[in-house]
Amino acid sequence: MSKLSQRHLLGIKNLTREDIELIFETADNFKDVINRPIKKVPSLRDVTIANVFFENSTRTRLSFELAEKRLSADVVNFSTSTSSVKKGETLLDTVNNILAMKVDMVVMRHASVGAPHFLSKHIKANIINAGDGTHEHPTQALLDTFSIREKLGSVEGKKIAIIGDILHSRVALSNIFALKKLGAEVMVCGPPTLLPKYISSLDVLVEWDVKKALDWCDVANVLRIQLERQQIKYFPSLREYSLYYGINKKILDDLKKDIVLMHPGPINRGVELTSDAADSHHSIILDQVENGVAIRMAVLYLLAGSTN
């Protein structure tokens, strides 16, 4: 079967393992395409895609835009700072206005949890969630697991530690869903205040000591402290966080085995990762960015192809 079970990519939670594997196989081919001298294929020639970003983003928007352009889609960009949202327009009105201009797909980021799910019930276009609040960020989880698969051969049976601000992280939640579906063992590690209360329902290991987590894992996915989402103080200071949870080259070198270091970006250098760790041979951070384009091309291709 070479069709996704979903019309939209709202979250990893709704995907099956077969869906994820199909996306990976398609992304393998696109990774080959973007490494050619001519990086463009005409697949989405008659498709128009709107990138609707109600929240800031550099990497994800750029990555989606590149993916769309390399598939020859027509792209329109929209961000709240320059739009009528400031004038009080509702989400549904905004998107319906965009769709009235004959847009086939919407890539959306929104600060509210469930915003793309809400839209998917009201509009006909395919929706791709590029991050909704603290909920899900499916393409990031797909590119993270794809990068693990590329580096270690497979995801099944591998031990992945997700370290940092789990509470505010949509990357963490999507990653947990994706990793569990692919048969990996998952551990989350962070200060108790930054671990969500529902964590026990996700069937993952919980560790407070970052050194123990690093000793256990094959791959460490280190997350950024999302100060912009923290209304109250969850830990005394960034310096203290960095002292207890920051990862540097010495910690990595002292481990018994080589582990793979990942980060979804943007890195706060000196807080969760020091520069010498982020730039060490452990790190596959830039591979993640490259794979991001291939994964997004695969998702766009598979969703656009099954409209009719």
Partner: protein, 181 residues
């Protein structure tokens, strides 16, 4: 399912040898020629011909696989998106004579997509098309093969089935099959 044998193993071998001789006639020492098989089924035939050619001319000839999925013109017109296969061309096509190989030539749309896809690897000097079976009177586009194993008269309701040992079949055979029953 009604099946009619078009070529058996023995005749197919003769045909393949003839195609190789024709290629040698046109490309003599193959010093500027590459062989490209079209995914998914053309690659088995390309490998067969490539092996025979190398034995006959005793030089190394570059062999690549080309996938046309992302260049097809029926995207969004099919029930499910076409599944891609690997493209593996680790040489530059720029200025080369390309022998493009597929098993069956039907509407010509895959060949059009292949010509499009090939440009990503450079501008070939010449492209020649070799097919094992040419279905007559079925072309949607003005495309013709330069080297043909066998011309076959077919109906729209029929399908040409190429079974090669390399694909896991017992014997090399080509069939004409009625689609409906």
């Amino acid at each position: 399912m009604q099946k009619k044998l078009v070529l058996d193993s023995h005749l197919l071998n003769i045909t393949l040898n003839r195609l190789c001789q024709q290629l040698i006639e046109a490309h003599s020492n193959f010093n500027n020629t590459v062989v490209v098989g079209m995914q998914p089924r053309g690659v088995f035939l390309a490998e067969l011909i490539h092996e025979k050619l190398q034995k006959l001319v005793k030089t190394k000839i570059p062999l690549g696989y080309l996938d046309t999925t992302f260049h097809r013109d029926d995207f969004r017109r099919r029930e499910i998106p076409a599944k891609a296969s690997e493209t593996k061309i680790d040489f530059v096509i720029e200025g080369k004579n390309v022998i493009l190989i597929d098993d069956v030539l039907y509407t010509g749309r895959t060949v059009r997509a292949a010509l499009d896809a090939m440009i990503a690897f450079g501008r070939p000097s010449k492209v020649k098309l070799l097919v094992l079976v040419d279905r007559k009177y079925t072309r949607d586009l003005p495309i013709a093969a330069d080297y043909v194993g066998k011309y076959v008269d077919t109906l729209e309701s029929q399908r040409v089935l190429v079974e090669l040992e390399a694909q896991g079949h017992k014997q090399n055979k080509i069939w004409l099959v009625n689609k409906d029953n």
